[in-house]
Subunit: 197 residues, 2 copies
Amino acid sequence: MFERPVQRLIDELTRLPGVGRKSAQRLAFHLLNVDEADARCLAQAIVDLREQTAFCSRCYNVTSGVECSICVDPRRDPAVICVVERPQDIAVIERTREFKGRYHVLGGALSPIDGVGPAQLRIEELRSRVPTESITEMIIATNPTIEGDTTAMYLARRFKPLGVTVTRPASGLPVGGDMDYADEITLGRALTGRREI
Amino acid sequence: MFERPVQRLIDELTRLPGVGRKSAQRLAFHLLNVDEADARCLAQAIVDLREQTAFCSRCYNVTSGVECSICVDPRRDPAVICVVERPQDIAVIERTREFKGRYHVLGGALSPIDGVGPAQLRIEELRSRVPTESITEMIIATNPTIEGDTTAMYLARRFKPLGVTVTRPASGLPVGGDMDYADEITLGRALTGRREI
């Protein structure tokens, strides 16, 4: 239907998550209409992303160097590790400014149905960091889903025998939320995890 | 918050229509995780789009050559021209297989509030095609919006004195739709345009 270069870009865009055929068409025609320099900027940004970044050799965060800016920061406490599923989760936690330790990116969560077992995650890499960085606490900040909870349980069983305190961020009511809109499971966990004021 | 190459791509993606900060982040991290060849393919497709396409010198459709595949097709009737706002509208009309003439892309619709007057659209280019292609009918398939309707009225006033029949696709109930869901203006036009069966 479209000229070949247009159709090829539409096909490539459709492979992106959350981009359907209609949005891909709209994006392709948008890129036909903008300044050529702007279209080239976008293409170059994609190439640069892959050429100028790598994964941190210690925690597997995204980095422009060998180790990421958090791992090389001497002000960060190496004894406390926050374990996350994906590199983008680090930005979410950093934004809270509540955490001063280092991170470890697992690369996903345990999900037997998708063929993700412990060997598919970076658990051995985490294991080897325990003695070298004298880790005393691990905060398992995987998603509050079945897969994330299962992963947290697995890591607790794995690392408690090594003398590491394993914790999990509290589940409960979102701040500014409305009791009416809380689901039963979240409200149940909020009650179980109640704190004296 | 993110490494520079990641942040730069997020910024570029946010400039696309319908892509917010959150989607841009998701897309950027997706492009970090896919095969490097796939990311490069997308970047190359964007570059090729601009290098290998141009606008048809006759109708301003997208083309890989000088004139588009519709303009050079000898089976298309040159006497009937369908006038559209944007190149992507041509694909929508072609899909109906109801139209056998040629096209003309205006490049938008009249909208004084956005600074789009007749001089900003390709109306003079359309004017010069009337004698050279012996145009007898113009179907004004601009969007059924205020801007599209205004543009259609303007073109009718402009081209009727030249002996061209100017028509507009019917407005009315969508096929397979439900009367309950029709808005008053659409239903009003459907009644005005009623046809004997």
